[in-house]
Protein backbone atom coordinates (compact mmCIF):
# COMPACT_ATOMS: atom_id res chain seq x y z
CA UNK A 1 0.00 0.00 0.00
CA UNK A 2 1.41 3.37 -0.95
CA UNK A 3 2.07 6.11 1.57
CA UNK A 4 -0.84 8.19 0.35
CA UNK A 5 -3.30 5.30 0.57
CA UNK A 6 -2.06 4.37 4.02
CA UNK A 7 -2.31 7.94 5.28
CA UNK A 8 -5.70 8.44 3.68
CA UNK A 9 -7.06 5.34 5.39
CA UNK A 10 -5.51 6.38 8.69
CA UNK A 11 -7.16 9.80 8.74
CA UNK A 12 -10.42 8.46 7.35
CA UNK A 13 -10.61 5.98 10.23
CA UNK A 14 -9.97 8.77 12.74
CA UNK A 15 -11.86 11.55 11.01
CA UNK A 16 -14.53 11.76 13.73
CA UNK A 17 -11.90 12.11 16.46
CA UNK A 18 -9.95 14.65 14.40
CA UNK A 19 -13.14 16.63 13.83
CA UNK A 20 -14.04 16.54 17.51
CA UNK A 21 -10.53 17.75 18.34
CA UNK A 22 -10.81 20.71 15.94
CA UNK A 23 -14.22 21.59 17.39
CA UNK A 24 -12.60 22.31 20.74
CA UNK A 25 -11.73 25.70 19.25
CA UNK A 26 -13.93 26.08 16.20
CA UNK A 27 -17.47 25.80 14.95
CA UNK A 28 -18.38 22.78 12.86
CA UNK A 29 -17.82 24.46 9.52
CA UNK A 30 -14.43 25.95 10.38
CA UNK A 31 -13.38 22.69 12.03
CA UNK A 32 -14.14 20.84 8.82
CA UNK A 33 -12.12 23.36 6.81
CA UNK A 34 -9.15 23.13 9.15
CA UNK A 35 -9.27 19.34 9.13
CA UNK A 36 -9.43 19.25 5.34
CA UNK A 37 -6.38 21.52 5.09
CA UNK A 38 -4.48 19.52 7.68
CA UNK A 39 -5.11 16.25 5.84
CA UNK A 40 -4.08 17.86 2.55
CA UNK A 41 -0.88 19.07 4.21
CA UNK A 42 -0.28 15.59 5.62
CA UNK A 43 -0.63 13.97 2.21
CA UNK A 44 1.88 16.47 0.77
CA UNK A 45 4.60 15.48 3.24
CA UNK A 46 7.55 13.74 1.61
CA UNK A 47 8.59 11.64 3.39
CA UNK A 48 5.54 11.04 5.54
CA UNK A 49 5.89 12.01 9.23
CA UNK A 50 7.06 9.30 11.60
CA UNK A 51 3.83 9.54 13.56
CA UNK A 52 1.25 10.80 11.07
CA UNK A 53 -1.65 10.83 13.52
CA UNK A 54 0.19 12.90 16.14
CA UNK A 55 1.46 15.14 13.34
CA UNK A 56 -2.09 15.72 12.10
CA UNK A 57 -3.40 16.46 15.58
CA UNK A 58 -0.61 18.97 16.06
CA UNK A 59 -1.30 20.66 12.71
CA UNK A 60 -5.00 20.84 13.53
CA UNK A 61 -4.20 22.31 16.92
CA UNK A 62 -1.96 25.04 15.53
CA UNK A 63 -4.31 25.87 12.68
CA UNK A 64 -7.39 25.88 14.91
CA UNK A 65 -5.77 28.13 17.50
CA UNK A 66 -4.59 30.54 14.78
CA UNK A 67 -8.03 30.46 13.22
CA UNK A 68 -9.76 31.11 16.53
CA UNK A 69 -7.47 34.05 17.34
CA UNK A 70 -8.53 36.07 14.38
CA UNK A 71 -11.15 38.61 15.43
CA UNK A 72 -12.86 38.67 12.08
CA UNK A 73 -13.03 34.93 11.99
CA UNK A 74 -14.31 34.89 15.53
CA UNK A 75 -17.25 37.06 14.57
CA UNK A 76 -17.84 34.88 11.53
CA UNK A 77 -17.60 31.80 13.69
CA UNK A 78 -20.10 33.13 16.18
CA UNK A 79 -22.55 33.81 13.39
CA UNK A 80 -21.99 30.34 11.97
CA UNK A 81 -22.42 28.75 15.36
CA UNK A 82 -25.65 30.65 15.89
CA UNK A 83 -26.86 29.59 12.46
CA UNK A 84 -25.93 25.93 12.63
CA UNK A 85 -25.51 24.40 16.03
CA UNK A 86 -23.98 20.96 15.72
CA UNK A 87 -23.46 18.53 18.55
CA UNK A 88 -20.09 17.03 19.34
CA UNK A 89 -21.46 13.52 19.65
CA UNK A 90 -23.97 11.43 17.78
CA UNK A 91 -27.03 10.43 19.76
CA UNK A 92 -27.09 6.63 19.65
CA UNK A 93 -29.78 4.48 21.16
CA UNK A 94 -27.34 1.76 22.23
CA UNK A 95 -24.80 4.17 23.70
CA UNK A 96 -24.31 3.67 27.44
CA UNK A 97 -23.86 7.41 27.86
CA UNK A 98 -26.17 10.14 26.67
CA UNK A 99 -24.48 12.26 23.97
CA UNK A 100 -25.62 15.57 25.42
CA UNK A 101 -24.51 14.59 28.92
CA UNK A 102 -21.12 13.54 27.61
CA UNK A 103 -20.71 16.84 25.78
CA UNK A 104 -21.85 18.79 28.84
CA UNK A 105 -19.38 16.94 31.04
CA UNK A 106 -16.61 17.51 28.53
CA UNK A 107 -17.38 21.21 28.27
CA UNK A 108 -16.93 21.54 32.02
CA UNK A 109 -13.24 20.78 31.76
CA UNK A 110 -10.55 23.36 31.29
CA UNK A 111 -9.40 23.79 27.70
CA UNK A 112 -6.19 21.85 28.15
CA UNK A 113 -7.83 19.03 30.14
CA UNK A 114 -10.59 18.69 27.56
CA UNK A 115 -7.97 18.58 24.83
CA UNK A 116 -6.11 15.80 26.61
CA UNK A 117 -9.29 13.77 27.18
CA UNK A 118 -10.33 14.09 23.52
CA UNK A 119 -6.89 13.03 22.33
CA UNK A 120 -6.75 10.09 24.71
CA UNK A 121 -10.31 8.77 24.57
CA UNK A 122 -11.39 9.38 20.98
CA UNK A 123 -8.04 9.97 19.30
CA UNK A 124 -6.51 6.92 20.97
CA UNK A 125 -3.23 8.79 21.37
CA UNK A 126 -0.70 7.76 24.02
CA UNK A 127 0.34 10.05 26.87
CA UNK A 128 3.81 10.57 25.43
CA UNK A 129 2.38 11.67 22.10
CA UNK A 130 -0.19 13.88 23.81
CA UNK A 131 2.61 15.50 25.78
CA UNK A 132 4.37 16.38 22.53
CA UNK A 133 1.19 17.72 20.97
CA UNK A 134 0.20 19.98 23.86
CA UNK A 135 3.76 20.87 24.94
CA UNK A 136 3.52 19.47 28.46
CA UNK A 137 5.44 16.74 30.25
CA UNK A 138 3.96 13.21 30.08
CA UNK A 139 3.48 13.11 33.84
CA UNK A 140 1.59 16.42 33.78
CA UNK A 141 -0.57 15.10 30.98
CA UNK A 142 -1.30 11.93 32.93
CA UNK A 143 -2.17 13.83 36.08
CA UNK A 144 -4.45 16.21 34.23
CA UNK A 145 -6.08 13.30 32.46
CA UNK A 146 -6.90 11.34 35.59
CA UNK A 147 -8.18 14.50 37.29
CA UNK A 148 -10.35 15.25 34.26
CA UNK A 149 -11.78 11.75 34.27
CA UNK A 150 -12.73 12.14 37.92
CA UNK A 151 -14.29 15.51 37.23
CA UNK A 152 -16.32 14.17 34.34
CA UNK A 153 -17.46 11.15 36.28
CA UNK A 154 -18.50 13.33 39.15
CA UNK A 155 -20.39 15.63 36.78
CA UNK A 156 -22.17 12.73 35.11
CA UNK A 157 -23.14 11.24 38.45
CA UNK A 158 -24.28 14.63 39.79
CA UNK A 159 -25.71 16.56 36.85
CA UNK A 160 -27.01 19.33 39.10
CA UNK A 161 -23.59 20.54 40.27
CA UNK A 162 -21.78 21.26 37.01
CA UNK A 163 -19.23 24.04 37.23
CA UNK A 164 -16.63 24.68 34.55
CA UNK A 165 -13.01 24.48 35.62
CA UNK A 166 -10.56 27.09 34.36
Amino acid sequence: MSDVNHLTKLVADRSAALTLYARQWLDASSADDVLQEAVTALLMQRPAPDDPLAWTFRVIRNAAIDHARSAARRRQRERAVAATRQEWFDAQADSPLDAQSAEAALRLLSDISREIVVLRIWGDVGFTQIAEIVNLSPSTVHNRYTAALEQMRHALENPSCQTKTR
Binding site: V4, T8, V11, A12, S15, A16, A17, L18, T19, L20, A22, A28, A31, D32, L35, Q36, V39, T40, A41, L42, L43, M44, R46, Q86, E87, W88, F89, D90, Q92, S95, P96, L97, A99, A102, V117, R120, I121, W122, G126, F127, T128, Q129, P138, S139, H142, T146, L149, M152, R153
Partner: protein
Protein backbone atom coordinates in the same frame (compact mmCIF):
# COMPACT_ATOMS: atom_id res chain seq x y z
CA UNK B 1 4.78 2.97 23.53
CA UNK B 2 3.18 1.69 26.72
CA UNK B 3 2.08 4.34 29.19
CA UNK B 4 4.10 4.33 32.36
CA UNK B 5 1.31 5.13 34.82
CA UNK B 6 -1.50 2.61 34.52
CA UNK B 7 -5.00 3.76 35.29
CA UNK B 8 -7.12 2.28 38.04
CA UNK B 9 -9.79 -0.24 37.02
CA UNK B 10 -12.47 2.33 37.74
CA UNK B 11 -10.79 4.84 35.48
CA UNK B 12 -10.37 2.26 32.74
CA UNK B 13 -14.04 1.39 33.01
CA UNK B 14 -14.98 5.04 32.72
CA UNK B 15 -12.71 5.33 29.66
CA UNK B 16 -14.63 2.48 28.01
CA UNK B 17 -17.89 4.20 28.84
CA UNK B 18 -16.75 7.43 27.22
CA UNK B 19 -15.38 5.63 24.14
CA UNK B 20 -18.85 4.21 23.60
CA UNK B 21 -20.00 7.73 22.76
CA UNK B 22 -19.27 8.33 19.09
CA UNK B 23 -18.16 11.80 17.97
CA UNK B 24 -20.14 13.38 15.15
CA UNK B 25 -18.52 12.76 11.79
CA UNK B 26 -17.25 15.80 10.01
CA UNK B 27 -17.18 16.51 6.30
CA UNK B 28 -13.69 15.25 5.65
CA UNK B 29 -13.25 14.40 1.98
CA UNK B 30 -10.11 12.32 1.73
CA UNK B 31 -10.33 12.04 -2.05
CA UNK B 32 -10.41 15.82 -2.41
CA UNK B 33 -7.55 16.13 0.06
CA UNK B 34 -5.47 13.63 -1.91
CA UNK B 35 -6.27 15.42 -5.16
CA UNK B 36 -5.37 18.83 -3.74
CA UNK B 37 -2.18 17.44 -2.25
CA UNK B 38 -1.15 16.01 -5.62
CA UNK B 39 -2.01 19.23 -7.40
CA UNK B 40 -0.09 21.38 -4.94
CA UNK B 41 2.90 19.05 -5.00
CA UNK B 42 3.06 19.21 -8.80
CA UNK B 43 2.75 23.00 -8.65
CA UNK B 44 5.56 23.10 -6.14
CA UNK B 45 7.74 20.95 -8.40
CA UNK B 46 6.87 23.16 -11.34
CA UNK B 47 7.91 26.23 -9.34
CA UNK B 48 11.19 24.56 -8.43
CA UNK B 49 11.90 23.80 -12.10
CA UNK B 50 10.94 27.32 -13.15
CA UNK B 51 13.19 28.82 -10.51
CA UNK B 52 16.08 26.58 -11.51
CA UNK B 53 15.62 27.49 -15.17
CA UNK B 54 15.42 31.19 -14.41
CA UNK B 55 18.54 30.98 -12.28
CA UNK B 56 20.40 29.14 -15.02
CA UNK B 57 19.25 31.68 -17.57
CA UNK B 58 20.37 34.57 -15.41
CA UNK B 59 23.77 33.07 -14.71
CA UNK B 60 24.24 32.36 -18.41
CA UNK B 61 23.12 35.71 -19.78
CA UNK B 62 24.35 38.13 -17.14
CA UNK B 63 28.06 37.91 -17.99
CA UNK B 64 27.23 38.83 -21.59
CA UNK B 65 25.08 41.81 -20.66
CA UNK B 66 27.13 43.39 -17.95
CA UNK B 67 30.55 44.99 -18.51
CA UNK B 68 33.41 42.88 -17.30
CA UNK B 69 34.30 43.83 -13.82
CA UNK B 70 37.82 43.69 -12.55
CA UNK B 71 37.81 40.94 -10.03
CA UNK B 72 41.33 41.45 -8.73
CA UNK B 73 42.09 44.36 -6.51
CA UNK B 74 43.61 47.17 -8.47
CA UNK B 75 47.33 47.56 -7.96
CA UNK B 76 48.50 51.07 -7.25
CA UNK B 77 50.11 52.61 -10.28
CA UNK B 78 53.69 53.61 -9.93
CA UNK B 79 54.18 57.30 -10.61
CA UNK B 80 56.01 57.96 -13.80
CA UNK B 81 58.49 60.73 -13.89
CA UNK B 82 59.42 62.48 -17.06
CA UNK B 83 62.94 63.76 -17.15
CA UNK B 84 63.14 67.17 -18.67
CA UNK B 85 66.13 67.50 -20.88
CA UNK B 86 67.63 70.65 -22.35
CA UNK B 87 66.33 71.48 -25.81
CA UNK B 88 68.60 70.49 -28.59
CA UNK B 89 70.46 73.40 -30.23
CA UNK B 90 68.81 74.66 -33.35
CA UNK B 91 70.33 73.77 -36.68
CA UNK B 92 71.88 76.90 -38.26
CA UNK B 93 69.82 76.49 -41.42
CA UNK B 94 66.50 75.82 -39.63
CA UNK B 95 63.66 78.29 -39.92
CA UNK B 96 63.63 79.08 -36.20
CA UNK B 97 67.35 79.73 -36.16
CA UNK B 98 67.09 82.03 -39.17
CA UNK B 99 64.14 83.93 -37.62
CA UNK B 100 66.00 84.41 -34.40
CA UNK B 101 69.11 85.53 -36.22
CA UNK B 102 67.12 88.16 -38.20
CA UNK B 103 65.49 89.38 -34.92
CA UNK B 104 68.87 89.72 -33.25
CA UNK B 105 71.07 90.96 -36.04
CA UNK B 106 68.83 92.02 -38.88
CA UNK B 107 69.48 90.85 -42.42
CA UNK B 108 73.19 90.88 -41.72
CA UNK B 109 72.66 88.09 -39.33
CA UNK B 110 71.68 85.75 -42.13
CA UNK B 111 74.44 83.27 -42.97
CA UNK B 112 76.12 83.45 -46.24
CA UNK B 113 74.39 81.39 -48.87
CA UNK B 114 76.28 78.80 -50.80
CA UNK B 115 74.55 78.41 -54.14
CA UNK B 116 75.69 75.39 -56.13
CA UNK B 117 78.15 76.08 -58.83
CA UNK B 118 76.60 76.45 -62.28
CA UNK B 119 77.99 74.34 -65.02
CA UNK B 120 78.26 75.99 -68.45
CA UNK B 121 75.58 74.87 -70.83
CA UNK B 122 76.70 73.22 -73.98
CA UNK B 123 74.83 72.69 -77.21
CA UNK B 124 75.04 68.95 -76.98
CA UNK B 125 73.04 69.01 -73.69
CA UNK B 126 69.99 70.14 -75.65
CA UNK B 127 70.21 67.60 -78.41
Amino acid sequence: MPDQNPLTPAQQEFERLLRGTAPSAGRLDTAAAAFNAGQRSSLRQLRVWRSATALLLITTITPHLLPIRQTTSPTPMAPTFTTLTAPEPLQPQSLLALQQSVRDHGLDGLPASHPPALQPLRAKDFF
